[in-house]
């Protein structure tokens, strides 16, 4: 089982990738949600605070009131997603990752994954 420190390290790595991406910054400049990440197999809780198209804070535990809550089946999955080893979209679409929040916000969250994990044609 991964420790909170390891998952936090991944979350901070994820923050850098998002914040370094000009497209994400431009597209989501007016989106300021608080996002909780949780896992089913542990008590690990991470809060990402977004403002001005950037992740302004990554914190351990629940901080503030969330706009979106994302529940991963395992801590491993959450960490893999932060490190870019796991594309969350198929898991979300098959009901393995659960999201609570307004559907328009869920689409914006998906937009981030679409930008930082782009598809390529053969």
């Amino acid at each position: 089982m991964l420790s909170i420190e390891e998952v936090l390290k991944g979350a901070k790595d994820f923050r850098e990738k998002v914040n370094d991406n000009k497209k994400v910054r431009k597209l989501l400049k007016r989106w300021n949600p608080v996002i909780y990440f949780e896992t089913k197999d542990s008590d690990i809780r991470i809060t990402l605070d977004m403002s001005g198209g950037q992740i302004s804070a990554v914190e351990e535990g629940h901080v503030g009131e969330p706009d979106l809550v994302v529940l991963f089946p395992t801590t491993e999955n959450l960490s893999d997603m932060f490190y870019g080893r796991l594309d969350p979209t198929p898991m979300y679409l098959s009901g393995d990752i659960l999201v609570k929040g307004h559907q328009a916000d869920v689409i914006k969250l998906d937009a981030i994954t679409m930008i930082i994990w782009p598809e390529e044609e053969d």
Binding site: K17, L27, Y36, E38, H62, E65, P66, D67, L68, V69, L71, Y83, G84, D87, T89, P90, Y92, L93, S94, G95, L98, V99, K100, G101, H102, Q103, A104, V106, I107, K108, D110, A111, M114, I116, W117, P118, E119, E120, E121, D122
Partner: protein
Amino acid sequence: MSGMKRVLSARSVAAAGAGFAFATLSIVADVQVADLMPGNTGWIAVLAAALVCIVASACFGELSAMFPTSAGVRVYIQKAFNEKLAVPLSAAYIFTVVAASGAEAYVFGSVFEILIPSGPSLWFYIFLGFIIVGTINYFGIEITSGVQNLLSLTMFLFLVSISLAAIIKFDIRFDNWYNPLGEGSSLEGFIAAIALAIFLFAGFEWVTALSEETREQSVISRGMIGAILILCIVYALLNFALVSAVPKEVLTGKQVWTDGINYGARPHVVFVKVIFGSYEIIGLIGVGLLSFLASMTSFNAGILTTSRFLYAMSRDKTMPRYLSKLHSEYFTPYAAIITLCAVAVTSSVLMGLLGGFDSFTYAVAGSEVMMYFLAALCVIKLRRKAPTLERPYQVPGNPFSTILMVLFFGLLFVMVYATPEKEARLGLAILIAIVLIMIGHTVLIIPRLRSKRKKKSL
């Protein structure tokens, strides 16, 4: 999971569920149900259909509590069976609803063509309707839950008031208002009328897509039952009132009214005319507003939900990539919205040229019952396949109740199309065609889409 800033209440979920189903085409379907029943007994078929839907809602309640996702029916079928079954059936269900939006637009246009005789043709109103809804969805303008509550309440009050006014004014046209198996009827006809009356509730289960916006799962179950009860009161009363006020032959368009107009595609217009008598202008303004609100809310709900579904399918590589395009400012799946509006407009144009708008009530009723059947099967299969999975809500009396549901919904599906009406046969042909197209898509197109698209690593 933790709580959120914005959550929907059971009342908002019920209003959304009822809003999906408040369509102008539903009044045509209510008349078709009345026509299948003897005397003034159509309301009994509506009541029985409501009970069927409440039973089905128990299955959707269990499934949405296990998988609270906006992908809804697709996830349930995929978890219980496999993706090869989930994709064509859920997509066929969605596209049947989109094609029925074409029929709704046709009825909407027919109403305004009659209300404004010197105005533009039917096509103007059809295109106007889709332009309004397409624009609302393109720019991501949301109908807030407060506005949706108000719209549903307005339609509820208007329809209930005019129905009660008609019953008071015209009394009961037929002696038989209580015996669905009375003279000139049969058990088969009664079951067929119940099956068709399912159309009146079509969409109540779409609120499972709102699972992600609720704090507790019981909100969805209570919301579904609330929506069914609202619709039951409205359509049972309206059924009774329509038949009391206007001859069935006029409502169904088999005969023209005394003004020489055929009201087959707009029975509520002649209904309001006879209720308001010399004050008909007030009633007709009301009916215009009602048709506009009913069509716009059901179009809007239809395009909003189906465009997100299509977007999700594209993201999952089961639909072409262009359908996952998001607007850079409004974050709306604009390519999916435009495509769906184009499909619905094409459906309207075909209906205008070939006729058969009233067959879509049968196509949608059949696809609804097919979904109830599949939902009950999913409950049975998942209880065996994943017995330890957390179930915040459970269908009471399983497995006997769910086995009975599977048998009953299977029978009901057959009965939707068992009537001699030609609309029923065309409705079945439409549904089969859509299912076959989606099976072909799954077998031939999806493997190509998937092999063509792969993810870049970070």
